[in-house]
Symmetry: C4
Subunit: 191 residues, 4 copies
Amino acid sequence: MKTNRIEAFSDGVIAVIITIMVLELKVPHEMTVAAAVAVLPSLLVYGLSFLVVAIMWVNHHHFLDTAKRADAPLLWSNNNLLFWMSLIPFVTAFMGQNCAAPFAVAAYGAVLALVSFAFLLLQIVLAKQDAEDGVRQIRYRRLNRKAAFSVALYAISAGLAFVSVYFSFAIFGLIPMLYFWPERELNETLS
Amino acid sequence: MKTNRIEAFSDGVIAVIITIMVLELKVPHEMTVAAAVAVLPSLLVYGLSFLVVAIMWVNHHHFLDTAKRADAPLLWSNNNLLFWMSLIPFVTAFMGQNCAAPFAVAAYGAVLALVSFAFLLLQIVLAKQDAEDGVRQIRYRRLNRKAAFSVALYAISAGLAFVSVYFSFAIFGLIPMLYFWPERELNETLS
Amino acid sequence: MKTNRIEAFSDGVIAVIITIMVLELKVPHEMTVAAAVAVLPSLLVYGLSFLVVAIMWVNHHHFLDTAKRADAPLLWSNNNLLFWMSLIPFVTAFMGQNCAAPFAVAAYGAVLALVSFAFLLLQIVLAKQDAEDGVRQIRYRRLNRKAAFSVALYAISAGLAFVSVYFSFAIFGLIPMLYFWPERELNETLS
Amino acid sequence: MKTNRIEAFSDGVIAVIITIMVLELKVPHEMTVAAAVAVLPSLLVYGLSFLVVAIMWVNHHHFLDTAKRADAPLLWSNNNLLFWMSLIPFVTAFMGQNCAAPFAVAAYGAVLALVSFAFLLLQIVLAKQDAEDGVRQIRYRRLNRKAAFSVALYAISAGLAFVSVYFSFAIFGLIPMLYFWPERELNETLS
């Protein structure tokens, strides 16, 4: 198997993940302002998850572009990542329908922490493929610190949901921004 | 990342969007003429949305064929477009089940206005990549005027839904025709 | 646009169509033999539709392999075909849940007649691209006769459903066989 | 048709299969520990099915890499495999919601036995394409014995469900391990 097959399969899975989330938006049955407002939290959570998955797709491609071999560790750290990502539509629907419930917000944070952790594992596998390249190793260490930071933040957001869900929302809004801006730099760093 | 990866991912997302809409068609449970007639509006709205998304897919490819670089502005104006397009199945189900309700019809028009606006943004990003090509710039300006015209028409259709939903339906039927015919010209213009 | 992009998009749409049909199978909630038997018609109809769509996918590829240009007639006769194919999951669910109801069986036959007709249109467009090749024209005429025969059979099956649904089932079972066997010949004929 | 088109279509179908399973996870509506625990079996079954399908995807690619011709036997043994795989989301939802019911557990085992049998048929077709290569034939015979072993184990698990579902679960957990470890060897054997 070549790495481009892993990319193509991952693209397919991520394209389905990012799109089927919209099926969880419940069409309002009454034509009142209250019914429209009731759909708003689901829509906002959907927008957030779309952004998060889109960022992951972009990063995933940057990382896989650097892959040297489609060996078993790469294949299975990638499948592991896709598994945790595939739970995003589930927690998106859960939090969208219960966005004031600490448990639902904590579940969303916990799944994103696990996805970030799966990303960290994938990066470690890719770094090992490049073990003899000293310059890259330094850069990978920085990327890994950043990924570990995301894992920690999402884990904290899951815990904070039981104090106040607004703390969690603040962290959910903050992390995409962290990833969004330095992307250009990431691009230059790795390609 | 290369532009063909953006195309492949967009193709995947659009293929899922255009197909999952059919899941929102509710199978009638009674075998009466009334039950069959009740499904008709949903079917017609589904047909309209299929046509709209198919046109968008065709235009999307014409535009991305001209892309020079897969840089961050292109990547994110494209992800932005896919996000708004992904709401089409939602408003299709909403209007299909409530096609006499001004609010549902306005929501359909509003989402299509936002999709058209996202297309306009993508075209502006692509035009900037071609900034030194004078002939292309003139053509892009014409394409942008046309896109801005669509945004305006869809926005008007959303407002008119509260006067009479038939005005909105007339606009929904008109815009695909506008795009459909000059496609060959568009093709020659850009490729 | 190149013909391979049409193929890739069609592949994506057909892959989603053939797979989402399974979502319409309702999981039985009681663990009785009666509940298991109640799911059987849906399963059989799903199997039939899977076979029909798989045959269409195979034929679609054989046809598109002969395409010379991705012009507007090809693009839109293909989008037209994908639209009617996208209704197959809907009528599959409908007939699966009401397989003794003439109306549901007729709807299934009618949609497959329309899909076959869309295939005929696509073949006519492809034949025109090959207009100067005399040998191919003779072969296309034979293929078109066969497609027209399918359209007629499916249309008859829709009508016969109101006499007895078993006539319709016989036709639904017969047509895949007609297509299945001479496929090798088709392959040799066109490639 | 070339073998890479079969791969691309299979990738699309498998990507949809592996992802839509998550739609069957029912979002809990009450925020109690009991409701969260009630979702756990579905989640675990989903995780198991994701692992099973991911292994199948990996094996599928290893096998198709060795394909010589995209002839009718290959095409239809592959479509046959995809059909049985497409039932995995159905039995995953069924067993996930009724994981103590022997009938649901047996259905899961039976479908996986049929999928494994479809894999065996595909391998036999591929082995025939390589009929003159003596070394490969010996290896194929070993792979076929292994596939036949899976068929037998899954069939036994279906039967044992009526004695105790825990026997079945033990087999469901054992088989992925059998496939997981020797993958590297498989890779070397065939490529």
